[in-house]
């Protein structure tokens, strides 16, 4: 989004559409180009854990299900290669594509910029990026996924082995008033961690899972039962303690965590993998967007909302939905979005249906009594 002008009922928004270098009307998603592309890059969708090619489909359920060319492409960088262009049978590769300016005229705007996962590199103590087998919960989401970096197998990056003893550390970047942390609670991490524990046990019933937490915030619908389900699984422990991610074994790359015990002592325990339950931060570029749209942010740099009507921003005609209004989970994002939509409806109701036209189909042929006459179309 590059520019906004106008007011509620009549906004003019300028968008800059980045080139994908693939013609959407031609590409069939056959992925021949991906096979031939010589450039391997860390897969952005899979948290850069596994590799993908410079030309690739973003992820297996992407819409449209076609490729795009990443900026690491040899041709884009050094004007050589163009292998993809040669192998594509559908003439879908188009290196002449340029960023496209699109102007749209809208009556209302909904900002659904979402969130940015907390970056634990901001604080040394998390050892993220230092100890090989410390991952974020976002990394772990991908690791658990059947379309993830290890095709649904839980592996750790140091030796690609299946870890059997995994620790989760809660409130990473949340509930702390220190440099680089957020004072608020991120609301979703307690429950997603329980989900991850349950899924881990589904993958590997023998796995030992330990969650180091502060309060367990199972405040949502049916969350308490979900927590109990995770808690009673064999070899799963929930331990209420702050932790210290102490050291990495130079040979095994296992990680030692120090935590306090209920009797007031401390204990060191070794894990094969550590998952940091990172919190939700405001989306990147929130300030820029706020400036362009003329909306205010709150003290945490999420969108400032009306205190009773949380889909309303400080500017008329601009609404907000999802995690940009604060850390919330999927169901709350979904109903809030429907709420933001209805707010637009209230604003623009006077011209509802004005742009719609009725589609007319020819009259249906009566085929009773006809012999079946079949036409077959085979897609190449």
């Amino acid at each position: 989004m590059s520019d906004v002008e106008g007011e509620a009922g009549d906004f003019r928004v300028t968008l800059v559409k980045k080139p994908r270098y693939i013609r959407e009307d031609k590409c069939t998603g056959c992925t021949t180009c991906v096979e031939y592309c010589p450039v391997k890059i860390p897969d952005p969708f899979n948290q850069e854990i596994s590799k993908n090619k410079a030309v690739h489909i973003y992820f297996s359920q992407a819409i449209p299900l076609i490729t795009y060319i990443d900026e690491n492409c040899l041709y884009l960088k050094e004007k050589k290669c163009k292998i993809c262009e040669a192998v594509c049978k559908h003439e879908a590769i188009d290196f002449s594509a340029k960023p496209e300016k699109v102007e749209i005229n809208v009556g209302a705007i909904i900002l659904s910029l979402g969130f940015e996962p907390y970056d634990p590199r901001l604080r040394d103590e998390y050892k993220y990026g230092k100890f090989k087998n410390v991952v974020t919960s976002m990394d772990y989401e991908r690791i658990l996924s059947s379309t993830g970096p290890y095709e649904g197998e839980i592996r750790r990056s140091s030796d690609l082995r299946h870890p059997h003893k995994i620790a989760w550390v809660q409130c990473v970047g949340s509930r702390q008033v220190i440099e680089g942390g957020n004072s608020y609670c991120s609301t979703v991490c307690c429950t997603y961690t329980q989900k991850q524990v349950i899924l881990t046990k589904d993958h590997d019933p023998e796995a030992e899972c330990v969650v180091f937490h502060n309060d367990i915030r199972s405040y949502g619908k049916d969350f308490e039962r979900f927590f109990q389900r995770a808690e009673v699984l064999p070899n799963v422990r929930f331990i209420r303690s702050y932790v210290n991610i102490l050291k990495e074994d130079p040979v095994t790359n296992n990680i030692t965590i120090r935590y306090s015990t209920p009797d007031g002592g401390v204990k060191d325990e070794e894990f094969e993998m550590v998952v940091l339950s990172v919190g939700l931060c405001p989306p990147k570029g929130a300030s820029l967007v706020a400036e362009k749209f003329g909306i205010e942010l709150n003290e945490h740099r999420f969108c400032k909302v009306d205190s009773f009507v949380p889909v309303t921003t400080s500017k008329k005609g601009i609404f907000v939905s999802g995690a940009f209004s604060g850390p919330i989970d999927i169901p709350e994002s979904v109903f809030g979005s429907s709420g933001a939509a209805t707010k637009c409806g209230e604003l623009l109701n006077y011209r509802r249906g004005k742009l719609a036209t009725q589609r007319v189909y020819p009259e249906e042929r009566d085929v009773r009594g006809e012999e079946p006459k079949v036409g077959i179309f085979v897609c190449y």
Binding site: Q61, S145, T147, G152
Partner: protein
């Protein structure tokens, strides 16, 4: 998912689309075996994640367990039938389970052949089951409705027992109209859902045992003053009276008069 992710699996399977695994009829399974399919794989949504509030996948599960026992009963390997629950992102799981199943079935050999059964025998047995599907659905209706515990799949196997199936087939009833009692009122014929009753005016009604699905409607509706329909278990159905003897007395008397 297996498709868009290009996950490779063995090419032996043919997928037939239904909107819910609950639509997979007991008859479909045996119809497939009748057509020399060596295995049947039913893919449903994960339990408790049915797209419909009917939870058709739980019903598909009980149906599968029942079908397996019936297969055993007629001498087919129950491993030829398998049900798996998955969601759209579990393409990998789909591919794995299909591969595993195809491998297993290759070990078992072609249907019937692997069991050392002649083709005629196989067809005869399966056709018999297909004929009994309505009866099985009626008798096992309550049990087929059970929502099994999804967390203890190890207990599922015992849900239907071999003995139970044994009894199911031992107790197959036949409905028979006693010629002496039938007054040709046509009530049963009108009500029979499959038109299995030969009813001519003034003639003793006869149930076509090949068409009859053993629902018992005729028994229920035959007027109490006649009570002409009986339920026979474990005995052969007497042959119908010859055409000329089917004229009902009352009518005969009239004729004489």
């Amino acid at each position: 998912m297996a498709g868009v992710s290009r996950l490779q699996y063995t090419p032996e399977i043919r997928i037939i689309r239904v909107m819910c695994s609950g639509r997979v009829d007991l008859a479909f399974v045996f119809r497939a075996f009748l057509n020399k399919m060596d295995g049947v794989y039913i893919g449903g949504c994960r339990l408790d994640e049915c797209n419909y509030t009917t939870h058709g996948n739980y019903h598909a599960l009980t149906m599968t367990l029942l079908a397996k026992r019936i297969m055993e009963h007629i001498g087919l390997y129950p491993e030829r039938l398998r049900i798996e629950f998955m969601n759209a992102s579990m393409g990998q799981y789909f591919a794995e389970t299909v591969n595993e199943m195809v491998k297993k079935i290759k070990e078992l050999g072609p249907v019937g052949v692997g069991e050392g059964m002649s083709e005629e025998e196989l067809v005869r047995r399966i056709k018999e089951i297909l004929r009994l599907v309505p009866y099985i659905k009626i008798v096992k209706r309550e049990k087929l409705k059970t929502k099994l515990d999804k967390n203890s799949p190890e207990s599922w196997n015992e849900f239907f027992t071999a003995e139970e199936i044994e009894n199911l087939f031992k107790e197959i009833p036949s409905y028979y109209i006693e010629p002496e009692k039938c007054q040709a009122c046509m009530t049963c014929a009108r009500r029979c859902p499959v038109d299995a009753i030969d009813s001519k005016r003034g003639m003793v009604h006869v149930i076509d045992q090949d068409k009859c699905i053993k629902c018992g409607t005729c028994l229920d509706v035959c007027p109490p003053k006649f009570r002409a329909v009986t339920k026979l278990i474990g005995v052969n159905v007497p042959p119908p009276p010859p055409e000329e003897k089917r004229l009902i007395k009352r009518e005969k008397e009239k004729e004489v008069a």
